[in-house]
């Protein structure tokens, strides 16, 4: 690898212009405006402003990092310049919009968001002259700040970033924090911390100090504490593990009560995706089979549940939820098995494309006139009843949360057992090298069939619960986006890692459900997130041990090859 220690003027220009371009782009697609509605610190900072401020900060940081061997002076100069250059394109944008407006050219017919509102956001509502001066000043200052961040010792830099991330995170979720506090402590709760859907400045500062402090302490003492834990006896360790698992269990059980109905609904949806991701993880994470058509299993589960339980005109049998649940799972597993047969000999990219096709076929089948008499075509299946347990009807978000939680635990148990079993080792060998696995006496055909079939089970389970949760199903609920979502969860969380799946689902499914503006730009954010992940943290947010090693040895091989 080529580590340039000196930064050419040309790269500096590139860094700055890229940062400026990021602002212009997010502005023109309306993101800055939309996100400006979301306050982080009341009266001080909005999410929109962060989107303006982050690029010059990162540009300054990058510029400083790449010139760190040219001395402190050059570092600071370059960082400031990067910030300054980053301001060029946004300034041109503002002037251009205004000029065209004066000339009477209607550019909004092409760029809907090139509006007065965008100018206002970029000039901080101070008018063109002073506003632009402020913008240039701020961005240069942020470039310098980015450079300063680079110059700080690693530990302090990480501490500052951690504290800031927490403040932004909590600020973003203010509305829901308020709901939770109200739910727990009554209507007045949260007033001292939050205001108008954002953090108040003082509490924000306290959150910053506390989280940064804890992080800093952990940096200093973490290794010690870990070492002491490692040295402690088996008994202590077991108690510790049991206590933490117990606490986690209690927390999960109490969650609906803590967060209230609306957030329980969000959690139930996150849970459905965790369930699917656990299933897909068997194929992709454990067996290394890239399946882009996971929605197939979800659809089969949902349609079987719908067709066999519906009390409407399309209902075939009006059976009970609990009887149909295993049937749905079996149906999905059968589909998984049958669809695996034709792709057994395919590998990698070809497998991905074939499975992608299956996902589309199932949606088109659901839409088709041919099957419409049985599954309703575009009209879907209605009147799907809710499940009962004795006299209890599962119909609220809270009760569905428990049902889905139980399903997740069953799948989790199965996943862990599989991963540590002979079958798991078989998949690991196959993932690493299919030919070599065969030479070890592993029946790769059987291993693949098993992976696809078991992986489908979880999708079918999720689909069945989904159908009865919604009470109605339509073909458009089973689009390619579901497969993409589930796969992204696994990649972002960390391939093959089970805690990673939960973190990934919370980030990719929970966040967009909580923050509408995120879901408007969902695909853009996914794309950006996946690219950033691949660059910064290819092993995922919470990687499994084996996968981390795999990627590290890849990097080592690449380095050795240079």
């Amino acid at each position: 690898m080529n580590h340039t220690s000196s930064l050419s003027w040309r790269s500096l220009l590139n860094i700055g212009l890229l940062a400026g371009l990021a602002i212009v782009y997010t502005g023109l697609i309306g993101m800055i405006q939309v996100f400006s509605e979301r306050g982080i610190i009341a009266g001080v900072l909005t999410m929109g402003q962060i989107m303006i401020f982050l690029p010059p900060l990162v540009a300054g940081y990058m510029a400083a990092r790449r010139s760190r061997e040219q001395g402190a002076g050059r570092m600071i100069l370059n960082a400031g310049l990067a910030g300054l250059i980053a301001a060029v394109l946004p300034v041109i944008l503002v002037l251009l919009i205004r000029q065209l407006d004066v000339m009477g050219v209607d550019i909004r017919s092409m760029f809907v968001n090139a509006s007065k509102a965008l100018i206002d956001h970029l000039t901080f509502e101070r008018g063109i002259g002073p506003g632009l001066a402020m913008l240039v000043g701020f961005m240069t200052a942020l470039g310098l700040a980015g450079g300063a961040l680079m110059a700080l010792p690693e530990r302090i830099r990480q501490t500052l970033i951690t504290g800031t991330t927490w403040v932004i995170g909590i600020g973003l979720l203010s509305e829901f924090m308020i709901q939770i506090l109200r739910n727990l402590f009554g209507n007045q709760a949260g007033r001292s911390i939050f205001q108008a859907g954002a953090l108040k400045p003082i509490p924000a500062l306290i959150i910053f100090i506390v989280t940064a402090g804890i992080y800093y302490f952990w940096q200093l003492q973490g290794a010690n504490i870990r070492a002491r834990y490692a040295r402690s006896g088996e008994g202590t360790k077991q108690t510790f593990q049991r206590t933490s698992v117990g606490l986690l269990g209690i927390l999960l059980l109490m969650l609906p009560w803590i967060v209230g109905t609306f957030l329980s609904e969000v959690l139930a949806n996150v849970g459905l995706y965790v369930l699917m991701a656990l299933g897909l993880n068997i194929a992709v994470g454990l067996a290394g089979l890239l399946d882009l058509g996971y929605v197939t299993n979800f659809a089969v589960g949902a349609y079987v549940m719908g067709a066999l339980t519906s009390t409407g005109p399309l209902g075939l049998a009006e059976l009970n939820f609990w009887i149909v649940l295993p049937i749905s799972v079996l149906a999905a597993m059968t589909t998984g098995f049958l669809l695996a047969l034709p792709v057994l000999r395919m590998r990698g990219d070809y497998l991905a494309i074939a499975t992608l096709g299956f996902g589309e076929i199932i949606r088109l089948l659901a839409l088709s006139d041919w099957l419409a008499p049985y599954i309703g075509g575009a009209q879907g299946i209605l009147f799907i009843p809710k499940p009962h347990i004795g006299s209890l009807t599962i119909d609220t978000p809270e009760t569905f949360y428990y049902l889905i939680l139980a399903a997740c635990f069953i799948m989790l148990f199965i996943s862990i057992r599989l991963n540590n079993s002979r079958t798991g080792r078989q998949w690991m060998a196959m993932r690493e090298d299919e030919d070599a696995a065969g030479a070890m006496g592993i029946d790769t055909t059987l291993a693949k069939l098993l992976a696809f079939t078991l992986s489908a089970a979880s999708g079918g389970l999720a689909g069945a619960i989904f159908a009865s949760k919604l009470g109605a199903i339509f073909p458009h609920s089973f689009s390619l986006l579901i497969s993409i979502n589930v796969l992204s969860i696994i990649i972002v969380g960390g391939m093959g890692s089970i805690p990673g799946i939960v973190v990934g689902a919370l980030a990719l499914i929970g966040l967009p459900e909580l923050l509408r503006e995120f879901s408007d730009y969902r695909l853009l954010l996914y794309g950006a997130l996946l690219i950033i992940m691949m660059l910064v943290r290819p092993e995922g947010l919470w990687p499994s041990a084996v996968r981390r090693r795999e990627l590290q040895s890849d990097a080592a091989e690449a380095a050795a090859a240079d």
Binding site: A429, E432, A437, G438, M440, G441, R549, S553, A556
Partner: protein, 237 residues
């Protein structure tokens, strides 16, 4: 009846006629070398024996079983292990994990443990590297690992495809010494090599393969003296 009997096999890749009636036998306890130049069909012959491809004509019999009746992975428990060209180790697993994979079909924990220690005894270099990621080892070490791993399946017949490829002369010597040791512990070996000099030194018998046909077969000592072999494969004029 010999342990391995290859009887007049033909194999095609599309229109390429890679094997044109190859016959050879390997008796129990022997080391037999199959030598030949690039593209002669040596690897193809081994692939037919280990069940990876099925000959279009002729038959391979291993211990009275017709190989074509079984899938490749079923032949491993029956006693055929192959160290392929390019070694085929799991480059992202550790040495230890690779060894464990080698014993995949076995269930006898105690036996596996013993054989593992025995493997490390034969290849002390691997013992020092149990926790190293296999892909980060040198070519020679990887070759050793591939052989040690193959032994973990308790083979009766070990197929080696050019174990000396890309190795320094000292290492080649070490590898061939080890092959001889392994053979003396009761494993029958079919060795494919371009390095005829070394291959004929440790072998009992040898075959010479040229463009898909066996053109010569004899005991190793005689082959070494054969003028054609000396000229074409030993570099002696």
């Amino acid at each position: 009846m010999a342990l391995l009997e290859v009887d007049n096999i033909h194999a095609y890749y599309g229109k390429i006629h890679a094997l044109k009636g190859v016959s050879l036998t390997v008796e129990k306890g022997e080391v037999v070398s199959l030598i030949g130049g690039n593209g002669a069909g040596k690897t193809t012959t081994l692939r037919c024996i280990s069940g990876l491809i099925k000959p279009t004509d002729g038959s391979v019999t291993f211990d009275d079983d017709v190989v074509a009746d079984y899938a490749a992975h079923e032949l491993v428990p029956m006693g055929i292990a192959m160290v392929p060209e390019g070694r085929g180790i799991f480059s992202k697993l550790t040495v230890q994990e690779n060894m464990e994979m080698g014993a995949f079909y076995r269930n006898d924990k105690e036996g596996i443990k013993q054989d593992m220690e025995h493997g490390y005894h034969i290849f002390p270099r691997l013992a020092e590297r149990r926790t190293q990621i296999a892909g980060t080892m040198s070519g020679g070490e990887q070759q050793m690992l591939a052989m040690a791993r193959a032994l973990m399946s308790k083979p009766r017949l070990l197929l080696l495809d050019e174990p000396s490829m890309g190795l320094a002369p000292v290492l080649v010597e070490l590898i061939f010494d080890t092959i001889r040791d392994i053979n003396q512990q009761g494993v029958t070996v079919l060795l494919v090599e371009q390095n005829a000099h070394m291959a004929l030194q440790i072998a009992n018998r040898g075959y010479v393969l040229q463009t898909g046909e066996i053109i010569l077969s004899d005991n190793a000592a005689s082959l070494r003296k054969d003028p054609m072999v000396q000229k074409a494969y030993l570099g002696i004029d």
